[in-house]
Point group: C2
Chain length 273, copies 2
Amino acid sequence: MAEHVFDEAMALTGQAEDLFLGRTSPAYWNMVGPFGGISAAQALQAVLQHPKRLGEPVSFTANFAAALSEGPFRIEARPVRTNRSTQHWLVLLSQTDSEGQDAVVLTATAVTAVRRSTWSAVDAVMPEVPAPETIARGSLRRPVAWLQRYDIRPCAGSLPEQWDGSEADSLTQLWMRDDPPRPLDFCSLLALADVFPPRVWRRRARMTPVGTVSMTVYFHAGANELAATGSGYLLGQARAQSFFNGFFDQSAELWNQAGQLLATSHQIVYFKE
Amino acid sequence: MAEHVFDEAMALTGQAEDLFLGRTSPAYWNMVGPFGGISAAQALQAVLQHPKRLGEPVSFTANFAAALSEGPFRIEARPVRTNRSTQHWLVLLSQTDSEGQDAVVLTATAVTAVRRSTWSAVDAVMPEVPAPETIARGSLRRPVAWLQRYDIRPCAGSLPEQWDGSEADSLTQLWMRDDPPRPLDFCSLLALADVFPPRVWRRRARMTPVGTVSMTVYFHAGANELAATGSGYLLGQARAQSFFNGFFDQSAELWNQAGQLLATSHQIVYFKE
């Protein structure tokens, strides 16, 4: 069986203890660089592949410093502090630029932890929406490769049919999963948290240039819960709280079909005007 | 006039281009280390003091790797990527441990940017609560120094009167400002975003040990908007979305009295049981 394109994208080669080599994936290409969720997932993958990793990811923040160029990249993933049950990571993804210089294109920090079983509760209840099987797959009105890697079933708050500048709320709800379906893991969950269309496009019905500058994902599930989710759909909900002088935020939640909140995610995004 | 204790805490000495020296502040001491908001603000202060800084902070993430010990620390703040209007920062705060070794106690990343005036909108509307002047100051039931540095006026969702394990929602609303009052700036706003009591204490009426492991603040205001806020109160609202096997999240919003959303903040927090 052919390898899933997501696994191809996540394939890193260990070069030294803290150094991994990878390359951008044409299958997940966006406008002027790869889909940000994939680059973030590659940075997390370096942490997960590291021989000294302790536990599972709890928190991950990626800062998108520059668009990646097509081709190879290096990831330095360094455990800067290892405690009894938690570990703190610094990750730098870099490429050689046109002048032959090493340039940082993405920075990330991660916290991994050995979780213990405790009292647990979910306060963010999954909104009631129709089942994914009853919703038609969203049309791909944007000609970018990465969108074809996801099966997206819009529930509410889709992008406007017409870019007429009519203002709306900034809430979007959609079902999503990898296409072809693939069992969920931490890297694919991280990438799925970045699938939502830019809030400002929804809010203003206006297609201004945008680019995520920083993205954080908090994982509220362990490997067992992700395995139980399998290749089912996730319900994603995203909304903005502020658009201010060139930057807007997005907060998102991702539940599995059983109603378990697997991750919450936040990002801040540049917009041109 | 004596210097404000917050300014004393923020005083860093430049040692080399990317290296700053500071020390912990007894005035902001918590249980087993400084109040996390102060340590995060000191890390941001290094970025703000850096001679190569471009623009104002848009995004800041601090990861709390270990409790700081009383005494001096070093901050390495490095601009790893400078674009036309944005700049990406890596920050490492370290101390010499009992064995004479250099140990990282806090990592941070920041994005600063030269903002341009654009279309703006606030989707997170300030909840209606009584004015701060009409609310009695909260009692300090926890004997920790840092709480005395803040004037907190509880509106809703205070910590329970009795630790009887009765479950409630996880929402807290409160007015807050520095005490004595001090004109708001990016560092003090960052610290204020960490003032809320631990969500799990509110949610469960049970005082389990807690510790923030990662905290992100998105700034939705520039220096002009902070100056206009002056030393007035901020309305803070915080709630959790998930408590799962040892970690819970917190999302918070901070408005000034004029109703402008100045910052949104997110954190993930360890809890023991």
